[in-house]
Symmetry: C3
């Protein structure tokens, strides 16, 4: 059994910007030599999140439209009153979607579907450099 950490970063372009992390994760898992275990993807920070999706522009736009409906960017947020920030919608969306995803690794491969990619979704209202931690635990 071993634990291997892979750290990297992603430059985003602000709210709604999506990045496909699948290849990064696949490569990280392969490099560990772990055959069986789990890979946890974690984004550092409270205004971005990780999930899986069929990574094509239509589905990503649809997801962002849903977030805009339930946590509109231009609504009033109590968080804004505290710091003078404009990213209350970012915090609500990120807390809802969550920063962490754990995927099984079986025979050296992530058990993703063919049309299922791992996505980083930026919610902040400005461009950010995002730190991604991939933790592989296995044998």
């Amino acid at each position: 059994m071993m634990v291997v950490t892979h750290r990297s970063s992603v430059q985003t372009r602000g709210q709604g910007d999506a990045h496909d992390l699948t290849e990064r994760l696949t490569t990280a898992v392969r490099e560990t030599g772990v055959a069986n275990g789990t890979a946890t993807v974690f984004v550092v920070g409270s205004t971005a999140a990780v999930t899986t999706i069929e990574f094509e522009p239509g589905a990503i736009a649809d997801l962002n439209r849903m977030f805009e409906a339930i946590a509109p960017r231009d609504a009033e947020y109590r968080h804004h009153l505290r710091w003078g920030d404009d990213n209350g919608s970012s915090h609500v969306r990120a807390a809802l979607l969550g920063p962490s995803l754990t995927v099984p690794v079986v025979a050296g491969t992530l058990t993703l579907g063919e049309w299922q990619q791992i996505m980083l979704l930026e919610f902040d209202t400005r461009a950010r450099r995002r730190e991604i931690v991939i933790q592989v635990v296995g044998e």
Copy 2:
């Protein structure tokens, strides 16, 4: 320390169809002989998801009604324009709820509450055979 993978499938009946995976997970954990560790449940594909709920028809209907309100099945989705699909709502709902759940295993038992079951929720607009991966890591 060991890693044991349990694979199985579930036949679903389309959007909103819920399946209780608790017994399957309990049995899988028991068969591994793992006393302490974690069990990760993962559904392969981008139009289904996993969470916990009090598994009774009322609560499941209430959850589905909320999803219908925030991502209506019959709304227009950009994903439909790409493939001629009709399951844009499925992708939005599944990305939001997520494909993965990790539950502690303590003394051979999942730390679920008495009224807390592990649920597979189908979001696709048609019946699907769903592949479930249970990854148990522990000692």
Copy 3:
């Protein structure tokens, strides 16, 4: 490699009450002596959930307002018809947000951001004592 379980409880004050679990988790991880691995936080029960957020009253109020919009406390729920309960909104919100969160542990430290805390969010309509299970797996 080892697995260490940390159990504790939190007394909540009903729907919308938020608790910062970060220090509890940090201490639990430190006491295990695990340098590298994962920490899974799990709340027992189907009407509370765990996520990360910038733990300040404004952001928490904003998140609760979003939940009130998509699953209003005073709406009619089919779950109420079953048990005479009044917590249909609690079940919907908790199933959506989820009971589990896994965070990498690297060099003895959780890889959280400076403004990213681990939060227990109570959704039930009454005060509850919540059991929290922290499962640390690593070396």
